[in-house]
Structure formats: structure tokens, C-alpha cells
Amino acid sequence: AALRETAHDGRAQALEDVLLQADVGLKTAQALVARAGAADDPVEAIRRELRALLGEPSEWTFPTRPGPLVVMIVGVTGSGKTTTIGKLARRWTNEGKRVLIGAADTFRAAATEQVAVWAERAGADLVRAGEGADPGAVAYDATSAGVARGMDVVLIDTAGRLQTARPLMDELSKVRRAMNKARSGAPDEVWLVLDGTVGQNAISQALAFHEATALTGVIVTKLDGTAKGGAVVAVAHQTGLPIRWLGLGERAEDLRPFDRDAFVDAILG
């Protein structure tokens, strides 16, 4: 009974619970309910507020300037980076683009074998090195090859790492610099892959990865399950980063451009 004080009545508490269960987080949920609680239609008010927190949708289109577009994929262990690279590669080869994947995860067991399967599935070139090779060197080689071969896209896969591992975050900055050496201005995009089932740790991940590699966007995976991915709302709001893609399964075609309004509707059930 004491806890009801955070919400003005049973209906407000129910709204807060729906938001909390979607991983929106307590501070955000309380702010949303407080602002919308007095409205005639609180659900609609919250819907509008959630959309606002996620920012104006900015459609990402393939750049028209001369390539290659260099994309670096980063994120914590197991979030879905390698699979997402396979999906992006497939999408872009389907669009007639020439794609090259750089297997710069030289650390994890069979990481290169895994991305090699995806490169084959997508019809993409692959640049790889032996296990234990320097990831910066692979990223450099892949970026250079992308330029030399006139590719349209270079996708760089990196090893998963927890944002609290300082030396690994420093390594990521180093890999980024190597890409820039291979082609000035690279990488054009640095996308953080967030596991859709993640809770409040998403914010810590986004802030740390943003600090280490100046992110340009976010990809949220595994939203084909029961998780709602609500932690992404605070991520978008606090970083101002756009959400670019959603991963909705384990097959090459299970990738969709982020649809803000549909995402918000799913949170509100």
C-alpha cells in the first residue's frame, strides 16, 4: 500500500507496471506516468511521450557519394553482431551492392569460421587473418581492400567485449583509428548492437561504447522474442543516437529498418 505513492491511483500503477515490464526503467516510467497521468487518455499521452523520447525518426539511406561505405559493428559479448553483419551484407548484396566483410574478431573461438559462413550466404567478400592476429590490422586490411576493389560497403565485425573492460575498450578505439588510417574519414558508421532482452545495463553499454568509438547509431536484436527492448528508450534519449535497425530472428532476412511508432506500440502492448 505504501508503494502506491509513486502512482496516484491503481490505473497509474498499472501504467507504470506495463512500462517497467517493458524495461523502460523506473525513472523514465515514473516521469512518463507523472506527465501523462492527468491526461484524458493517459495511454495516448504516454505513447506520444515515448515517441518523443526516441526522437524524430530519421530515415537512413545508403549514401550516394563514392564508396566504400565503411561500417564498424560493436557491442557486448553475444549481442548479435556477427549475425547482424550477415543480415546487412545480404540486404545490401540483394540491392546490387558489392559488400566486403572484415573478420576483425580475432579473439573468440571460431569467430572467423562463423562470419565466413555468413559472407558465403550473403555473397560478400571476406578479409580475414589467423586467430590471435591484431584486430586493428584486419580492420585496416579490410578497409584498404574495400577501397582497392571498389566495393560499395565494408562491414567490420569486432569481438564482443564488456564495456567495463578498459583495455578492450581501448582496443576498440585503436581498431577505429586503424580504419581511419586505411581511408580517411572511415568508419562512416559505427553501430552498437544491443541485445533486445537487455535491462538497465543498456545505458551503461551505450555510454561506454559511445565514449570509446563515437557511435553513429544503434541496432537492437532479438526482438522476435518476448522482450520489449524498452531500455533502448533511455539510450536514445540520453545519447541522441538514432536506432537504425531491428533484428527479428536468426535468418539473413530477419532485419528491418527501425520503425519508431511500431516499436512504441509494442511497448504499450
Binding site: 505504501a2 508503494l3 505513492e5 509513486t6 507496471d17 517497467l20 515490464q21 517493458a22 524495461d23 526503467g25 523506473l26 557486448v76 559479448t77 553475444g78 549481442s79 548479435g80 573468440r108 573461438a109 571460431a110 569460421e113 562463423q114 565466413a116 559462413v117 555468413w118 564488456l162 564495456q163 567495463t164 573492460a165 541485445d195 532482452t197 537487455v198 535491462g199 538497465q200 545495463n201 543498456a202 551503461s204 532479438k222 522476435d224 522474442g225 518476448t226 522482450a227 520489449k228 524498452g230 531500455a231 536468426e250
Partner: protein, 298 residues
């Protein structure tokens, strides 16, 4: 009202306070915020706090030391201590030993995509080998590209054999793997399976059929420490379909609070057996409740 004021004044003179609803209110809210921030399930938080509130209500606690010295302990501090004790009790006891009396013992690993099953399989194999057991790893993930390669590499690192045959389905691999262990005298079989969603009918059917066929001594649900509210529904569904015997929480070397551990224990009643504390195969610890209770409570 007069008598209540009288009572609290008298208690104050004795350096004591009563844990009333009013006294507990701010502490309840603070702990609720902390647990939710730690990703403990909403309903689990509500049940947990109600439990501790009811237990604490009416308790008389010392807030001043003998001779009126200030203990610097408030009624709220007492409540938080009660929460910690309750958390330790709820999540405990310490990780019980694995059931290893089979010929061979069969351990089946299950869980969502990317939760750390394959790595945990390697860790368990290393753990058991260092205890003088003869483990056999079975690569029964036929879905993820290079999943078998990954397990083979791990097995090589710790000199544990890996049973992996291209072209077999998951059920065949699991059953033949157990048969193989019997044939060559390996006494523990650790079966790695593909990540899957609890709502994926065909894949849940696949892992149910494996469980029915090999009758594991342990079915371990492997979960990532950073999972949020989804842990409640997912663990409940995995448990409903597979009746797992315990769970493992991985990636605790990060700063995720790991509140899902409380959710899963509360919702399924199944014990936490191991904690994954890093990517290398030596980073596995037997579960002890105190550390995780502190981490979750914040």
C-alpha cells in the same frame, strides 16, 4: 494516538525505535527503486518487499548504543539489512554440488541465444576434468553457423574430447554422444544446445525431445546477467517445458546488477549453481549468495 506517541517516546529514551509503516515507507521506496534498477522482475520486487515489510513491521530495533552513544543506525538501515538477509536466504543456499552419480552423468545446457551456453559447456568440462572426472562435450547445436567448430576449439584448449558429427540432427547427436561416452568410458556428458526462444514451438520441442531421450541428471538454464524483465517470463516458460534442475548466470564480470537471478529463483524455485565471470574457461565459480545479494541490492 496518545499512547503511540508515548510508546515511541519511551522507546527513544531506551535508544530504540519501532519499525512502523511510517518508518519503513522511505526505505521501502528506496529499496524498490534499487531492485528495479537492478533488473529484478516487477512482480518479484513487489512480493519480496511485502515479505520483508511484514516480517519487519512491529520490530523494536536499537538505534543508539549503550550509554546513549549514537549507533548511527536508523530504522531504515535495519530494514535494508533485513532485505539483504532475506535476499541471501531467498537466493541461497550456496551452489549445491552437481549430481555426478550417473554412468555417465548427463548435463544438458539450455537457454536464450547468446547467453553463454557454449562457453559455459567448456568451463564445466574444465571444472570437472580438474576434479578428476572424464568429461565428453557434445556439440548438439546444429543451427548456429560454426557452433560445433566453436565447441571443438574450446575442447582442444582444455584437452577434453568433443563429440561432433556433421549431418546429424540435435537429437541424434545427443543420444549418440551419450552412447559414445559409455563406450569409451567418459563419465560426464555435457551437451551444448542451440540458443532458442521459449516461444519457439519447434525448437522447444527439439530440446524437450533431447531431454526425454537422454534423461539428464542436470538440465541447466544458462542466462546472461544483463537480461531485464524478460527473465521472468522466459525462465518460467523454460522451466514449465523442461523442468530444469538449476541455472547459471554468466557475464558477471561486467557491471550488470544481475537482478534476474532473484527473479528466476523466485519464479522457478530452482537453484543457482554457477556464476560465469569472464570469457576464459577458468572463469567459473560455484554460486554463493552473499556477493550477488549485495550486487543486486546495490
Amino acid at each position: 494516538v496518545v499512547s503511540r506517541g508515548f510508546r515511541s517516546a519511551r522507546l527513544a529514551l531506551q535508544g530504540k525505535a519501532e519499525l512502523t509503516d511510517a518508518a519503513l515507507e522511505p526505505a521501502l521506496r528506496e529499496v524498490r527503486a534499487s531492485l528495479l534498477e537492478a533488473d529484478v522482475g516487477v512482480s518479484v520486487v513487489a512480493d519480496f518487499l511485502e515479505r520483508v515489510r511484514v516480517r519487519s513491521l512491529g520490530e523494536i530495533v536499537p538505534i543508539k548504543g549503550p550509554g546513549g552513544t549514537d549507533l548511527r543506525v536508523t530504522p531504515q538501515d535495519w530494514f535494508i539489512k533485513a532485505c539483504y538477509d532475506e535476499l541471501v536466504e531467498l537466493m541461497g543456499p550456496s551452489g549445491r554440488a552437481l549430481r555426478l552419480d550417473g554412468k555417465p552423468t548427463v548435463i544438458l545446457l539450455v537457454g536464450l541465444q547468446g547467453s553463454g551456453k557454449t562457453t559455459t559447456a567448456g568451463k564445466l568440462a574444465r571444472w570437472l576434468a580438474s576434479q578428476g572426472r572424464k568429461p565428453l562435450l557434445v556439440a548438439a547445436d546444429v543451427h548456429r553457423p560454426a557452433a560445433a567448430d566453436q565447441l571443438v576449439v574450446l575442447g582442444r584448449r582444455i584437452q577434453v574430447p568433443v563429440f561432433s558429427i556433421k549431418g546429424m540432427n540435435a537429437l541424434q547427436l545427443a543420444t549418440m554422444g551419450v552412447a559414445q561416452a559409455r563406450n569409451v568410458g567418459r563419465d560426464v556428458v555435457i551437451i551444448d544446445t542451440a540458443g532458442r526462444l521459449a516461444i519457439d514451438g519447434p525448437l522447444m520441442e527439439e530440446v524437450r525431445s533431447i531431454r526425454n531421450a537422454v534423461d539428464p541428471h542436470e538440465t541447466l538454464f544458462v542466462t546472461d546477467a544483463m537480461i531485464g524483465q524478460d527473465a521472468v517470463a522466459t525462465a518460467a516458460e523454460f522451466d514449465r517445458q523442461l523442468d530444469f534442475t538449476g541455472f547459471v548466470m554468466t557475464k558477471l564480470d561486467g557491471d550488470a546488477r544481475g537482478g534476474a537471478a532473484l527473479s528466476i529463483k523466485a519464479v522457478t524455485g530452482k537453484p543457482i549453481l554457477f556464476l560465469g565471470q569472464g570469457e576464459s574457461l577458468d572463469k567459473l565459480e560455484a554460486f554463493r549468495p552473499e556477493g550477488l545479494a549485495q550486487r543486486i541490492l546495490g
